[in-house]
């Protein structure tokens, strides 16, 4: 029977609070660790919706300050982009986007 931990924190990849807490309990205490193990934050939104929620869960469970947990890297592309948007373009166009 579903209880209060079986709801999605990461909707793109359908990862529940329960799954995220299990991984934190195993000793993985960074957003990147949790992402790589559960896929939370690997979907279409790339963690822009769930990233901060996951940081908060890690912070609450481990007692680490939220600011410390939040430090993570954002890689290009900042938003999703069609492949053709970069196909055969001049370098200056893309870098100014």
């Amino acid at each position: 029977m579903a209880d209060d931990k079986d709801f999605f924190i990461c909707r793109c990849e359908e990862v529940t609070l329960r799954e995220i807490e299990e991984v934190i309990d195993e000793g993985y205490h960074t957003i990147d660790d949790v992402k790589r193990i559960t896929r939370a934050g690997m979907g279409l939104c790339q963690g822009r919706s769930c990233g901060k929620v996951i940081a908060r869960i890690i912070s609450q469970k481990t007692g680490k300050p939220l600011e410390e947990v939040l430090q993570t890297s954002y890689r290009f592309p900042v938003r999703t982009e069609k492949l053709k948007a970069l196909e055969e373009e001049g370098p200056s166009d893309a870098e100014n986007n």
């Binding site: 660790d33 790589r36 279409l44 290009f76 492949l83």
Partner: protein
Amino acid sequence: MVQSYDVLVIGGGIIGLSCGYYLTKQGKRVVVLESGGFADGASGACDDMILFQSKKPGINLELAFESLELYKSLVGELEDSLGFANYGGMVLIENERELEVMEEFVMQQRSYGLDVEILTKAAMRKKQPFLHERFIASTYSSMDSQAYPFAVMHRFARKGRQMGMQVVHKSPVVGIQKDGAGDFLVTTAQNMQYRAPHVVNAAGAWAGKVADLIGLNVPMEPRRGQIIITEKIPAIGETNLWSAKYLVTKLKPGIQIDSTEEEKRLGLAFALTRTEGDSYLIGSTREFVGYDKRTTMEGIRAIINQAVSFIPVLKDVNFIRAIAGLRPATPDGKMVLGEHAGVPGFFTAAGHEGDGISLAPITGKLLADMVCEGRSDARLEELSPNRFASNAKEVC
């Protein structure tokens, strides 16, 4: 405080975790020291291939067969699917020159027992209807498989921990010494010390730097591979795909078939695999740029142009991320696996370049056999770190 173990594994990527797992399974008390977090290095920024067609006929291909069998048994052992799948693979051929090279290569692979054939254009298009018209033929092997690296690594760690293995993150090794009793004393940046009679250097692209800490020579160069990741889309073909150039770039860097200057500089070649998450990984570059693991606009654009020229419908697909990892490259394209003659008890297991996912299980198993039983298979002689000893550095 000094903590004592039977074996210290330096490097918590897929190779280090596999070594740690198989050593623990054989009853050793093991700690895995990882400089970053979970999957921070090349094992977390790569594709998912257990690709036979890219293996040089010889020891690499033999070990890949054994590794595949281990993967199948690991699915039960580690209680997880590991994202293991068997979609098969095709190498795409653009012209007669490539066809000649691939025909010869396929013959060699068949003689080593790989089930691989050349498909006609019609048979190729039946499996891959969205390919650009220009491809004249392809190879096909039903054996090419894949596994999800993050799952493999996490399950190695989880099962290993259940049996007593320890994995310590954010612990870069800064010193390795031998003490009077013959044990190794390893110091991390946090000034923690670990003692054991055996050390396994599984530091991937950093294996040369780790070996250097105890005066050993392991020639290892980081080779950057960039890859892009698409959104989830329905399957666009039956198999995973590579260009003939991918194989030639990987196996015979001397021979370039009709490559542009940019392709040569980036080591650009086409590789496309469908992932566990239903997105596609499209690659890749093979660049020597030191330890810089950033993605670049030039690399991403080159990968995209190539991908769209191979499969035009991809132009309307979104890509959600670009990744880059440093593949550990040796001068002769073979991994380094074995005990260093100059420093008994010190082993290296690194240098898989693009074969780390394929060869991780067999590497860990063979390494554990060497450490636990002192067994060294004669056929593994060509992988020994001692092959580089003749040009060893002066130890003062």
